[in-house]
Symmetry: C2
Subunit: 520 residues, 2 copies
């Protein structure tokens, strides 16, 4: 009997609670993919009930007593009797479960119900508001959500900023104090690179990507890439949704979605690769730990590192297209048959400031994140009114990217996140980019033939490397500890900047500067 | 304030419990439509947990105390203080809720979990067993399920036969003592009609229905018919599944499924109409009563009467095809352009004993039901071993229909029902046929221009008639009371036999006999 088995009753209870969360996730997936338009209101109620039940079960006296037999419920300290007898995974399981429990205990169940219902409704209002380009339609919902999230921060408690409490949900351990200087340094580098790109004589031709591409064939190609990445369709699906996403109900049922536009081929393609990266992580989690923190992903930053690694480090690399471009040409001979691989590679890597985050290139993407981070801070810390958001948005986008949204649909209304109360989420995208570069650098060090394998369409060594170092651990290590274990370093932006320098220096033919100063 | 509003706390609780059941239904729908093949095991666990939670909530002390403020919890009698102040709907709501509660209380929660999990697993084993034509693969699961259903009957209690306890789940008030003579009389009539049809010189040409019909177009036509029936796609969907079914998560989210075969055009067509009839019932339930018995369907027999009325009384009628046949010919000009309407009408009404219930004509269908009813009785009453089922099945099918299944996939393994423990379900199909004929006869009496309207594709008057008499009442009346209210008669097989006599007398050109003796 392993010591984990000693936690049998606790893990049974955790699994049961997880089933309720899985059901929530199925209902949410359904809402985004197949739910009839007329049933939004009841779905909001159903989700709120499920979330409340899961919450109440999680903070129940039964859970408290299960935990109390192993640890001090006030401090989380493992009881002396168990200190030595439990192994490292068991310690980690208890530590993470207690943290979740302690945090959840702070939220009244009526608050959880209210927040769940508001999020579900607001999300549906947001869809309509974006469609009709009508921020004021969404305004009352957003105002309520902001108030609720401020209340949530108060319930949870924080030091320095209420934003830290929210950030902690998505990226445990991350703080405003850490992100501000990191983003500032990153911004300097990005602006410098952007200037060099702007001054380059090279002008990628992206018209080739906006020809007419049959949407069915685009999906088929997306599926082909996912299969080659070894995303397992026996334990997953690819569907369509307004916003691409990945969801998991268990490692045997991990679903990704994409969207497909006839005149924007990269959209479907790269969202398939991106979500595929998320999907591989979820499919690779240890099933025997299902329901416990050891069967869960660490943080959104680490999750995003998986999608970004596949999307950018792999999917926008020369090696990747060495293998896939002839196949893509076979799918679309009229459109791409006479386009040289180099031209295509340049086109999919074009850097240009633009309005929409999810369509942004891998460099300016982070400037979009910074805009949102600053706005969220101002909103949650109460310095700015929700009704002033459109104006503030447009000003910041102009400041960071030099472009101005012609309307709110392409401005402040573009992202789904705030509509489900996800304040503090955006920074994890940039953290994901930084982690991804760190991991890919290490993978190249560990496997000298990595790029050669990618060039031959052999992605298994990379997937196995990730499985061994990331997937299989669940939440046994924190994000910081995991990255440190794998790369020997704390979070740093050096590899990310280095990659950008190299790739865009080559593509846009500007001299690469000396290695940037890491700043974490 | 209506007196129903006085039940506010009770209905809130009932709604909350219903959300859990809705979630179960979404997960089940997903399992049958889109779930990846590899995630069957976890889905079984998730469903079992949801069902257990719903069950435990329903029999909780909170529910008991909510009910006890209105009625005597041991007898269900409304407390004197409320007798006069509550109106009829409130009385009905309390009566039905108490009956459900009293029944559910008898089932231990561990039993509900076990049964839920067994059903979910058995269903998946059944799919494989049918696919590989391997009854022995399914045998251990079926044996466990039969034992569990016998145990369920013991928990619930019964008079005469444990089968009555199971029957009562699906058709409250129905008993073996009622069904035996009813089915015996029905059988006599069916056999007599079948003989007349066998001896008729008319031989419908059904080859025209097994030509190659594009499956996409078949689905489009099914959708067209559903829309014309006023099935609301804003509050519903049509998807594919192995077995067609209807499921509802709320009147604003009612989903139907069908299946489609290139060389069997009627399969998709009539399952769309059939499930559409179920769907209209569910979409027509009063939303303001959602979650309470007044927002629920009465019984499976009444439910089936709605699908059969649309499928057979409407969908296999001359008036229906007067409107739709030209449209069908437009969909399939090569296949049907030169086929006269009469020939098509004869083909879709061909009577011929066959192996598969769901593909059977409207006459022999009921013989299939009787076979299952007798087998179920023997199994549940313990006179027959589960392992002897294939042999027994084949003998009975030969006896009733004069055909012998070449294998178990087309024999004892053909139906999904037993795999989810639904013993006592089949008889409701024939009850549905009888109710449907009674209702349609009454509708024709109430609306002299009914068939003329159908012939013009105007189904609204019929839908509105059904809404007014059936849908909007939820479970305010029992099946018997509702039928009595609408038709002025108790259950009788006369209208059903009369319809068969008339239709097949005309089609197969045999003299119609005098009106049959009703026997209920």
């Amino acid at each position: 009997m392993t010591t984990l088995a000693a936690l049998g009753n606790l893990t049974s209870k955790l699994r049961e609670i997880h089933h309720l969360r899985d059901a929530s996730a199925v209902l949410s997936w359904d809402q985004e993919t197949y739910m009839p338009a007329g049933s939004g209101a009841i779905r909001a109620d159903q989700l709120a009930t499920l979330q409340t039940f899961a919450h109440n079960q999680f903070i129940s006296s039964e859970m408290e007593s299960l935990l109390s037999s192993f640890l001090d419920i006030e401090t989380g300290t493992i009881l002396p009797a168990h200190q030595a007898s439990l192994d490292e995974p068991a310690h980690a399981l208890l530590r993470e479960t207690w943290q979740d429990f302690f945090r959840a205990k702070k939220l009244p169940s009526s608050f959880v119900t209210e927040l769940g219902r508001e999020c579900s409704i607001a999300q549906q209002v947001w869809v309509e508001a974006r469609k009709t380009n009508d921020f004021h339609r969404f305004l009352p919902n957003l105002e309520r959500l902001v108030r609720l999230k401020q209340k949530e921060a108060d319930y949870l408690g924080y030091t320095d900023s209420p934003y830290n409490a929210l950030l902690d949900t998505y990226e445990p351990g991350s703080t405003v104090a850490q992100l501000r200087p990191l983003f500032a340094t990153l911004r300097t580098h990005l602006i410098r690179l952007l200037d060099q790109i702007r001054n380059s004589p090279i002008q990628p031709n992206t018209d080739l990507l906006t020809q007419s591409f049959d949407t069915g064939k685009q999906l088929d190609f997306g599926r082909l890439v996912l299969k080659q990445m070894s995303y397992d369709f026996q334990r997953g699906r690819l569907d369509l949704s307004a916003h691409p996403f990945t969801t998991s109900f268990h490692p045997t049922d991990v679903r990704v979605t994409t969207r497909v536009f006839e005149h924007d081929m990269p959209s479907c393609l790269f969202s398939c690769i991106h979500e595929g990266g998320h999907g591989l992580y979820e499919q690779g989690l240890p099933t025997q730990q299902y329901g416990t923190p050891l069967g869960e992903t660490i943080s959104l930053g680490i999750h995003e590192s998986q999608s970004r690694l596949w999307e950018n480090s792999v999917g926008r690399s020369q090696s990747f297209w060495q293998y896939f471009y002839p196949k893509l040409q076979e799918f679309f001979p009229t459109q791409l048959g006479s386009v040289p691989a180099d031209e295509f590679y340049l086109a999919i890597n074009r850097v240009e400031p633009s309005l929409i985050r999810v369509e942004a290139d891998e460099l300016t993407y982070n400037l979009h994140v910074m805009v949102r981070f600053e706005i969220e801070l101002d909103i949650i810390e109460g310095r700015v009114q929700v009704e002033d958001l459109p104006e503030m948005w447009n000003a910041k986008i102009q400041e960071y990217l030099g472009v101005t949204p012609p309307n709110d649909a392409e401005g402040v209304l573009q992202d789904v996140h705030w509509s489900f109360g996800a304040f503090g989420y955006f920074p994890t995208y940039t953290l994901g980019n930084l982690y991804a570069a760190m991991l890919f650098h290490q993978a190249k060090k560990d496997m000298v033939d990595l790029e050669q394998n990618i060039g031959q369409g052999n992605f298994l060594p990379l997937k196995n490397w990730l499985h061994d170092r990331v997937y299989r651990w669940g939440r046994q290590y924190s994000a910081n500890d995991l990255i440190q274990r794998i790369t020997g370093q704390a979070l740093t932006l050096e590899p990310f900047i280095q990659d950008l320098e190299e790739k865009f220096g080559n593509l846009y033919k500007f001299p690469t500067t000396s290695s940037p100063q890491a700043s974490t």
